[in-house]
Amino acid sequence: MPIEPNPPAPATEREREAVDRAIAGLGVEPRRSDLLPLLHALQDELGWLPRGALHHLADRMNLPFPDVWGVATFYALLRLDPPHGTILHVCDDVPCRLRGADTLVHDLEARYGPPRRFAGEAHGAVRSGEGGAASRAPVDWETVPCLGRCEEAPVAVAGGRELGRVTADGIAAALRHSGGDA
């Protein structure tokens, strides 16, 4: 998980505008319960949640920054660093593994480098964090728990498109389609 830098990064013009627009979209003064919907809206627009934008959001909501940061870091779908390529989520949970997700993950690793998070299974130890410099592939991918489509296992989401009974070739085609240079 990225560490909050000190001093905080100031929001860019575009980030401030995105925050202000998201809040204006509520039509009322933001309440704390608007926080998660606002974070969704920001990420939809910016692709991730830059530190500066979160600071500006905290100011606009009259919330201490750590409260906003604490929420933003809680959820797997919220991104605190910029994606370095088209986003690919590959389910490696039990039903998908039983239907070939392990092979799929190996194939994808050969094509796109290691995923963002990878559990060192043989040792039961979990290596977390960035995939490292080697992973600067045009595809920013990670393995994820069950996506709730196990009847179509194995399952992936490539550039926002849900793919069932998927293969590495199928994923590559979908990434090309969504603009990823795969």
Binding site: R32, L98, G124, C150, E151, V157
Partner: protein, 428 residues
């Protein structure tokens, strides 16, 4: 036993984006009856139906509705659509294919318990489900079924859709409240229970999507009609999410009391003509059942007696070639990653459990490992504040009963390797 299409009557048949289509297949009949006969009738039918919650805890729905109806002040209704239990997809299918049923059921709930605010907490990954629900809510509003004068009752009821953002723990009802309130999605201590102090501190009715979708059936068929399927204590039909090594993975609706073997047959049986090794019933929070359990009737009571659980309705099938311990390892990793870390037994226990299962899965088990797992499991079950920690050891410990480790003297030999890896063949 035959497959039934009661909860799934409209799925794949009616246009999920059309209120007209919904109405033409008995949609909104239940709400009409509920408004004609009033809340007291709804509560007594629901209690008489014996409907138990389908979100995992099997709590009687009628009793919960009555508790909220009798609470004072502002009340709320929440539909739990966070569905993140591995192997579970029933709520997604209901929301995508029959969104008006969720909306109708919530409207009945709101008018019955006296709430004006309804909220559906939809798992962040379920974009189509959220879109379909919003569309259904819009149409219901335009038709006067929701809003300031909901269904012509003179009472207000509105529903909004709230999207999660990728956290299994937010399916736990009090974590869900924190998530909506703009806090970290960590569970609260209970009591107070949601029926006393839930979302924003108000008495709150929380029900699972499938539980709610049963309500219009109860009110249309009457309690006795509803009980036509199922057993005395597990009434009605159940949606089972069958996945893994079967010919036809999918969602199957059958009466409670259908046996595990019959359910697997509906799904085409174990694929490729292979033999069954085990079924992981109830998802990651569930337990393994061996091939000797094919005659087990799938009911709340029979599964409990067998040391299992209905859980979320996930039935994950492993054929004879699957590596049981690789599956267990994935389950252990799931809990280690999804623990919110708030309480010590769960935070530390899920980590230690993962390390030990990692040893077992790679054939490096130590003699003391089974006992360690049992001790950690007991600590998590007894001392965790929420169901995640309380169930985190269930699948692991039940796997040990299916494939006990060989005696310590052999623990580094071939026997241990075989026990740890499952049978050779297709890797998992």
């Amino acid at each position: 036993m035959p497959e039934i299409r009661r909860l799934l009557a409209r799925a794949g048949v009616a246009d999920p984006e059309s209120l007209e289509a919904y109405r033409s297949l008995r949609g909104y009949e239940a709400l009409t009856r509920a408004t004609e006969r009033g809340p007291a009738w709804v509560l007594s039918e629901l209690e008489a139906s014996g409907l138990l919650g389908r979100g995992g805890a099997a709590f009687p729905a009628g009793r919960k509705w009555r508790a909220v109806a009798e609470a004072g002040g502002r009340r709320r209704v929440v539909c739990n659509a966070d569905e993140s239990e591995p192997g579970t997809f029933k709520d997604r299918v209901l929301m995508e294919e029959d969104p008006f049923a969720v909306v109708e059921a919530m409207t009945i709930a709101g008018l019955t318990v006296g709430a004006e605010d309804g909220l559906i907490y939809v798992r962040g990954e379920y974009r189509l489900a959220a879109t379909r629900l919003r569309q259904a809510i819009d149409q219901a509003e335009r038709a006067g079924l929701l809003g300031a004068d909901a269904a012509g009752t003179g009472r207000a009821f509105r529903i909004r859709v709230f999207r999660g953002a990728g956290a299994y723990i937010c399916g736990e009802e009090t974590a869900l409240f924190n998530s909506v309130e703009g806090r970290r999605g960590e569970p609260r201590n209970k009591p107070p229970f949601p029926t006393q102090a839930g979302l924003f501190g108000d008495p709150t009715l929380v029900n699972n999507v499938e539980t709610l979708c049963n309500v219009p059936v109860v009110l249309r068929e009457g309690a006795s009609g509803f009980r036509r399927y199922g057993t005395e204590r597990s009434t009605g039909t159940k949606l089972w999410c069958v996945s893994g090594h079967v010919e036809r993975p999918g969602l199957y609706e059958v009466p409670f009391g259908t046996t595990l073997g019959e359910l697997l047959e509906l799904a085409g049986g174990v694929w490729r003509g292979r033999r069954l090794q085990a079924v992981l019933c109830g998802g990651a929070a569930g337990t393994f059942l061996g091939p000797d359990r094919l005659d087990l009737p799938l009911t709340f009571e029979d599964l409990r007696t067998a040391g299992g659980t209905v859980g979320s309705g996930a039935v994950i099938v492993l054929d004879e070639t699957a590596s049981l311990w690789d599956v267990v390892l994935r389950v252990a990793r799931f809990f280690q990653e999804e623990s919110c870390g708030q309480c010590v037994p769960c935070r530390v226990g899920t980590q230690r459990q993962l390390e030990i299962v990692g040893r077992l899965a790679s054939g490096r088990a130590r003699p003391e490992d089974p006992q360690l797992l049992a001790d950690i499991g007991a600590a998590m079950t007894d001392a965790s504040i929420c169901g995640l920690g309380q169930t985190a050891a269930g699948a692991v410990l039940s796997a040990l009963t299916l494939q006990p480790l060989v005696p310590p003297s052999n623990s580094r030999g071939k026997g241990a390797q075989r026990a740890a890896r499952g049978r050779p063949g297709e890797s998992v």
